[in-house]
């Protein structure tokens, strides 16, 4: 399957499953609301009669923020808000793992489209395996980051200002390494997508096959899988660019414009969620085309594997 075909099919599936995006957005909104509510209450309590915050309408005012933090925040309310935020962020992370199982299940059952039954069943069914898989790939990501840090360390003689000619060496080294790091990290992220999809399609308790199989899928057909991944990344960049362009033009000096910017922000968040779902959807389409129709013995054919699995039983 060509990249464009997979992209188009994946796009279509996401459109058909728009309820899924709505659900994910709702979850995101709910969690953010729980985090933001205490701050809103604090500001209402402490600043609701003050005229000083009006300065914030004209732009950022450091003094308003600093005085607020000094008086009410740093030693009082903010540590609590920060602690709550950290807890909720961790909960959200696990919840996202949970929801990802549902997303994968929906796209696995492509003919039926989104149904609540398939979604929630997928959430529960794949949670632990997805969590483990996520952990493995996070470890790989940390490993890649460490490797690049090690290279940077070597290029800058351990950031030793005595050993390098000048600080430009550090500056230039970072400039050189960042693109390579982003490419490598992106490849691993792409492979992790295929690992999740492969795991859901194989539906095995053990993650050995999906984990290593995903590397074969991702790397052997690199010129199909990576362009698709990159295309999705470009969609994200496009959404980000449009948001940036529009938000910079909204002067938030009254309630209407603040509301407008808020709505624009929510559209952007929805866009991010759409891109995430699109990434999985298009990768699923690509995966199916590669695994079900492949003539390449290096790529694990799903039918072969399922037959082998049945024979083992």
């Amino acid at each position: 399957m060509k990249v464009i075909n997979a992209f188009a099919k994946g796009w279509k599936k996401v459109i058909q499953s728009f309820v899924l995006c709505g659900l994910l957005y709702g979850m995101n909104f709910l969690f953010a609301f729980i985090v933001a509510l205490p701050l809103k209450q604090l500001m209402d309590k402490k600043l609701s009669h003050s005229m000083e915050p009006q300065n914030l309408l004209a732009g950022f005012d450091f003094t308003v923020v600093v005085d607020f933090l000094n008086e009410y925040g740093v030693r009082d309310a903010f540590p609590n808000i920060l602690a709550n935020t950290q807890i909720i962020a961790i909960v959200f992370f696990f919840f996202s793992v949970f929801l990802t199982g549902g997303i994968l299940a929906v796209f696995k059952n492509r003919e039926e489209g989104f149904t609540r039954g398939i979604f929630w069943e997928g959430c529960a069914q794949y949670f632990w395996r997805l969590l483990r898989l996520t952990l493995y790939f996070l470890i790989i990501q940390v490993g890649i980051l460490s490797i690049f840090f090690f290279i940077l360390n070597a290029m800058t003689s351990g950031f030793d200002i005595e050993a390098i000619a000048h600080e430009g060496v550090i500056f230039d080294s970072i400039k050189i390494l960042i693109p390579f790091y982003l490419i490598c990290s992106g490849i691993i992220a792409m492979i992790s997508d295929y690992a999740k999809i492969h795991m859901v399609h194989l539906d095995e308790a053990w993650l050995f096959k999906p984990f290593f199989g995903s590397f074969k899928i991702g790397l052997k057909k690199f010129f199909k899988t990576y362009p698709l991944f990159f295309l999705n990344f470009l969609i994200f960049v496009l959404i980000l660019g449009v948001y940036w362009f529009l938000s910079e033009r909204i002067i938030t000096d009254n309630f209407t414009s603040i509301l407008l910017l808020f709505v624009l922000g929510q559209v952007f968040i929805l866009g991010r969620i759409f891109v995430k779902v699109l990434r999985i959807s298009t990768a699923t389409e690509m995966y199916r085309s590669l695994v079900y129709t492949t003539k390449n013995s290096e790529i694990p054919s799903l039918e072969n594997q399922q037959v082998a699995h049945q024979n083992e039983e």
Partner: protein, 680 residues
């Protein structure tokens, strides 16, 4: 030759033979002072302590070897029988020096090998003679006037064989050598970059009644402490610096000429009416030149920093322009800004007469204005510390605090009050705002009063209180007397005290005299009350508007004298009458006069005055109008108020700002969560 003649005149040689010997001595000196012409036709200062130094840098041993002549004028009515000199480099001799103990070893850094003798520095006088050839080193001893730390050798006391009579000028001849430390406290070397400050034996200041707080004549010569270093008499410096050929050099004063000698280049510098002399040398540094009015500006930078050079020039010009307008003339004909290499960062951000060091990094974006902030700060020191030569060792707030105030004013003037330090997208903050955060952001802003010897801030607060709190109360003083009068005070202070040694009481006297002449109606009792609170006390200033009430007057019921009817009061009419109140609180201990702007629903506004003394106070109005809002100190004159957010109160207010803040916070929380979800 004019210089040589003058030196001979001021020397205490009583016979012609001695004069001839002296002449021969000068001629015999390897680096003579020929060609060093007078810079100011009329001395700007008393020139109490002047120095002629021939110094040679040994880059292999990381040492300097020097011959020095000290010319000192005894301005007191005492016969002075001893000298006290700073040997600052001995502060870096070992871990037991007072400097090192106060630093807790931090300046030596964990990465530095303390066992490597090359990281340490020291200084030793090898010869010290008076004009009669008496060896004065015999009875010399290290003294520790501040802390009795016997390991500290940063001050040496030299008893004299011949006392110095009142009004007498004397010359002392000495030799010294010094091992340079690996860069510490702005001095020393790193690789082939050298920054030489506090490098020569330098006299303390002989204070006598009439100078600062002195009640009797005595040397003011403190040990070298972890913070602060400047206090010296004005003088003329003729310094010949021999460095290897190929080294670029910058120094205080003006270059008079160079001379090649074997493998060395001798750079001959002369600085007049300054309190110190610093220099730097490196084979990698390049010189860049510009001009502000008649002042030659020079930036010394390495190749990788060329792109930053225009920013240094612009910041310097802005600073000189502003201070010239609001404080007084910059009299020197040159100013050099040194941008240390990255490995020499330990010498960045420091001030010396006509030579300052800045800070900058390759690729530093324009919107991060650390280059401008630091350059402005250090150049401002040319006024506060250099020309107005306060005692930083005892009253550092007069040096760093005044400089911080002017640095903030200058930065905010040229780059915006809310953007002068950082201006990135919609985020930014200014100079005054930064100092406000530094002081009020302290976990305990009341940790000490301002007026304290720097090394006696035992439990923190030195920097925030010295720099930031002083800046804030000077800004508050500006608010109280007005912008133009503040400039007037500063001009008067500069005119009266330039090239002298003022102390706190001298500045306060200037303020009081100015206020008596120009603002006697507003402040009939002068401004002592102000300084008592902001300088000599550690208390906080905090006022707020407690609440506003608009109560509709009820009809009175009951039995009243001289009435025949129930429940009817005179003046009853169709309009509703309200009793409206604004209640103000003084939450802090500091008392400041306050203004309150009160706005009514009929559009009327009243500016009330309150002396700010009571713990609570109210303004009450009766009528058909209701109060809509009130702002305490609407012009933010009392900038040191610890919380400006509670200085206003509106009965009903547009909640848009809160919604704006929350919606932005909400959006970023959502994005953070979505980014976390992308990791899966």
């Amino acid at each position: 030759m004019r210089t040589l003649s003058r030196l001979i005149q001021v020397s205490n040689f009583n016979t012609k033979i001695e004069t001839i010997l002296c002449l021969l001595c000068f001629v015999a000196t390897g680096f003579n002072l020929q060609g060093q012409s007078v810079l100011f036709p009329e001395p700007l200062s008393s020139r109490t302590a002047s120095y002629d130094i021939d110094v040679q840098l040994d880059i292999k041993k990381k040492m300097i070897f020097a011959d020095e002549k000290i010319h000192w004028l005894n301005s007191s009515t005492d016969t002075v029988r001893e000298l006290q000199l700073h040997l600052y480099l001995n502060a870096f001799k070992n871990t037991q020096s007072t400097f090192m103990k106060e630093q807790g070893g931090a300046s030596r850094g964990e990465s530095t090998n303390k066992e490597d003798e090359n990281v340490w520095g020291w200084q030793e006088i090898t010869r010290f003679q008076d004009s009669f050839g008496n060896d004065l080193l015999v009875k010399a001893e290290y003294i520790q006037p501040d802390d009795d730390n016997e390991e500290d050798q940063s001050v040496i006391r030299i008893p004299l064989k011949e006392g110095v009579l009142p009004g007498q000028r004397v010359t002392y001849d000495l030799s010294f050598e010094a091992k340079l430390p690996n860069l510490i406290a702005r001095t020393g070397y790193d690789k082939n970059y050298y920054f030489l400050v506090h490098w020569f034996p330098k006299l303390g200041v002989y204070e006598y009644p009439g100078i600062r707080y002195a009640e009797k004549g005595q040397w003011n010569c403190h040990q070298f402490h972890a913070s602060t270093e400047f206090y010296a008499d004005f003088g003329v410096y003729n310094v010949n610096i021999a460095v290897p050929k190929g080294y670029t050099l910058a120094a205080s004063g003006l270059l008079q000429g160079t001379e090649e000698k074997d493998s060395l280049t001798i750079h001959k510098y002369r600085a007049e009416d300054v309190i110190d002399f610093a220099w730097t040398a490196s084979p990698r540094m390049m010189e860049f030149h510009d001009k502000w009015k008649d002042v030659d500006l020079k930036v010394m930078a390495n190749e990788e920093h060329i792109e930053l050079v225009p920013r240094f020039f612009q910041a310097t010009k802005n600073c000189l322009e502003y201070l010239d307008k609001h404080v007084g003339d910059y009299p020197y004909s040159n100013l050099t800004v040194v941008l240390p290499p990255f490995h020499g960062l330990g010498s960045s951000g420091m001030e010396y007469p006509t030579l300052v060091s800045g800070i900058g990094f390759k690729g530093l974006p324009d919107y991060i204005r650390i280059i401008e902030v630091i350059t402005t700060h250090e150049v401002t020191h040319q006024y506060f510390m250099q020309m107005i030569a306060t005692n930083e060792m005892e009253e550092s707030w007069m040096d760093e605090g005044f400089t911080s105030y002017w640095e903030s004013r200058i930065m905010d003037h040229y780059y915006g009050e809310k953007t002068s330090n950082i201006e990135f997208l919609s985020f930014g903050y200014g100079g005054m705002q930064t100092h406000r955060l530094e002081y009020l952001g302290l976990s305990n802003p009341k940790v000490s009063e301002n007026f304290r010897f720097p090394w006696k801030f035992k439990h923190g607060g030195y920097h925030p209180l010295t720099y930031a709190k002083t800046c804030l109360w000077l800004k508050t003083l500006e608010g109280l007397v007005g912008f133009d009068h503040m400039n007037g005070i500063m001009k008067k202070y500069f005119e009266e005290w330039k090239f002298k040694h003022p102390c706190a009481k001298d500045f306060i006297a200037v303020v009081n005299n100015y206020v008596a002449e120009n603002l006697s109606e507003e402040f009939p009792n002068g401004m002592d009350w102000f300084f008592d609170q902001v300088l000599y006390s550690s208390e906080l200033c905090d006022y707020n508007v407690g609440w506003i009430s608009n109560n509709k007057d009820e009809k009175d019921y009951g039995v009243f004298e001289n009435t025949t009817e129930w429940g009817i009061e005179e003046g009853e009419g169709p309009e509703e009458i309200y009793t409206s109140k604004v209640v103000l609180f003084r939450k802090g201990e500091v008392i400041m006069p306050q203004e309150v702007l009160i706005h009514f629903d009929n559009g009327e506004e009243i500016l009330e005055k309150w002396d700010g003394t009571d713990r609570s106070f109210e303004f009450e109005y009766k009528g058909t109008r209701q109060i809509e809002w009130a702002i305490l100190d609407p012009q933010k004159k009392i900038y040191m108020d610890s919380n400006l957010n509670d200085n206003s109160y509106a009965v009903e207010i547009d909640q848009s700002p809160i919604w704006k803040t929350i919606s932005k916070f909400f959006f970023w929380v959502q994005n953070t969560m979505q980014t976390m979800s992308s990791l899966i």
